[in-house]
Subunit: 162 residues, 2 copies
């Protein structure tokens, strides 16, 4: 047991940390231009009457070092929920302590505790260090599946069809 | 307005139809060996105290013709939920009436009504008819993302790590 590392569910007081993590992750993924999240929007969707996702904060020696944000997906073949990890991020200065792995292990335990059939997440195909890390932890790449996304004006056009 | 087609939320009485649709879809995807769902498991996870997904039934001239099963995912960049369409299926004898498109349009409207930022789903990379159909409806292929999955014994091994 590493007492330098503490994992705990996030509360409303963590909103500044959560927003900072999201922005730092977007920067790493070269997607900063897509971030419109702010504290009010996060509060409404994560800590409102219908929370759409859960957040785990990783603290290293008492300092916020990283986070995982996840929600439940569903497998019709298993007729069971799964855990889908939407974001995992560890600040560069805290890497090398096994924090990312500890967050994945934590979510695997949550998945079993909640009778979920799967733990899933996505990775950018150019992020080879991450892919190797995930495969060493037992992940299988579902590379025969491609995600389709309809958003923005395309979503409005689809909703307006016949 | 096509009065032959009715879309409605599924209730517990639809469990036999839902299970039949799941099995027929798995057969089409050549994945029947993965289906362990049964009516009891579906009841517990779709109509129990914590429903993990929602189902829309499409009826054509009063007969169950297809279904869509979806749940909410979450975008940290938008700080908004999305709708993730897990399964969409129309029985072969009911194809050609625009039922699949009507289900997607219905979900796009639900997404806007629920202030969701996106409608997303996955497609098998060999299913070119489906891919063309989705692109014509405004979907963008997120083919730089690859899904990682940990399940079964690999999930137990990950949960047992130090």
């Amino acid at each position: 047991m590493n007492t330098d590392l503490q994992l705990r569910p996030a509360g409303e007081a963590d909103l500044p940390h959560i927003l900072a993590f999201i922005r730092e992750l977007a920067e790493y993924e070269k997607l900063s231009h897509q971030v419109v999240a702010d504290e009010d929007k996060l509060r409404a969707t994560l800590f409102g009457p219908r929370p759409y996702a859960e957040v785990v904060i990783a603290e290293w020696q008492g300092r916020p070092a990283g986070f995982a944000l996840f929600f439940h997906n569903y497998s019709t073949f298993l007729a069971k929920p799964g855990i889908y990890l939407e974001d995992l991020f560890v600040r560069p200065e805290f890497r090398g302590h096994g924090i990312g792995k500890a967050l994945l292990v934590h979510l695997a335990r949550e998945a079993l505790a909640r009778d979920c059939g799967r733990l899933e997440w996505s990775v950018l195909d150019w992020n080879e260090p991450a892919i190797g890390f995930y495969q060493a932890l037992g992940a299988r790449l579902m590379d025969e599946w491609i995600i389709n996304r309809v958003t923005g004006e395309a979503l409005e056009r689809l909703a307006a069809k016949g």
